[in-house]
């Protein structure tokens, strides 16, 4: 049987290959943000993204066009991390100052101190709690998609996200009305979230 051109559709010069390439490029920032969240530092994360991109390209045939490219890429990156990178150890704090300047733009409502505290607290979560929270709360995955990326049951993801939130609020000291009213959380948050019920 002759080679079916469709079977190698994600490579070469066809429309599918252009879409695949564009998709890869489009997902790079998101992949990198997830990689930094896993590794804890940008330099190791960039190696990881590089490795994942290489694998994605090499295994392009196994991606079905029209399905969720982001989930496919995240799965590759995550598997690469757990098989090759994890044992190198996670650096909780990244010394890069670039982040500090970006965070002010990304989080106009939060103070620099609040974001710094948040970042430290996030670094203290267990790996599985952190990744579940990131996938569902930031990377834009549904619980079902996150479960697929992590290779666990949907209920497991839900439970991990809930535990991650609980742990974070504990670490950040926002566990009760008093903490929200007077502590690290700005008043606007309370008013907006509660409609003034705490006043």
């Amino acid at each position: 049987m002759a080679l079916d051109p469709v079977s190698k559709g994600n490579k070469g010069n066809g429309a599918a290959s252009v879409a695949f390439r564009e998709g890869l490029i489009g997902e790079m920032p998101n992949l990198r943000a997830f990689a930094i969240s896993l590794c804890g530092n940008i330099h190791q994360a960039d190696d990881l993204v590089q490795e994942a991109l290489l694998k994605a390209w090499t295994n392009a045939e196994s991606f079905t066009p029209g399905t969720n490219l982001r989930a496919w890429l995240f799965t590759i990156l995550r598997n690469t991390y757990y098989s090759l990178y994890r044992r190198r150890g996670r650096e909780v704090q990244d010394s890069d100052g670039i982040y500090a300047s970006r965070i002010a733009t990304a989080a106009p409502q939060e103070s620099a101190l609040e974001m710094q505290e948040f970042r430290v607290a996030l670094g203290k979560l267990s790996e599985e709690h952190r990744e579940a929270l990131i996938l569902v709360g930031a990377s834009g995955f549904s619980y079902e998609e996150a479960a697929e990326v992590c290779g666990v049951a949907v209920g497991t993801v839900k439970s991990r996200v809930n535990r991650a939130r609980a742990k974070l609020s504990e670490l950040l000291g926002i566990t009760g009305p008093a903490d929200i009213g007077s502590g690290g959380v700005s008043d606007s948050v309370v008013k907006r979230a509660s409609g003034g019920a705490f006043s």
């Binding site: 490579k11 960039d46 970006r102 989080a107 974070l168 509660s194």
Partner: protein, 73 residues
């Protein structure tokens, strides 16, 4: 005020908060906490994703494509 209460909390749906009306005080509190955590999480992630990408990613893609075209045709 009642109109405000009837509105879903902005951003709360992102972390599974949903509507805020008819919630008990403790549920209100949970929503407020989740709202705060969700907002900071997204800001944190956005700051990471907004970092300029290193050129090595595009260099890699270009190399892979060049290799493919050499082998393919």
């Amino acid at each position: 005020m009642p109109r405000d209460l009837a509105k879903p909390t902005k951003g709360a749906k992102d972390v599974g908060g949903g509507e805020t009306r008819k919630l008990s005080p403790s549920a209100h509190l949970d929503t407020a906490i989740n709202d705060t955590i969700g907002r900071r999480l997204q800001a944190h992630y956005r700051a990471l994703a907004d970092e300029p990408l290193p050129s090595r990613f595009m260099v890699l893609l270009a190399e892979l494509e060049a290799k493919e075209q050499k082998n393919g045709s």
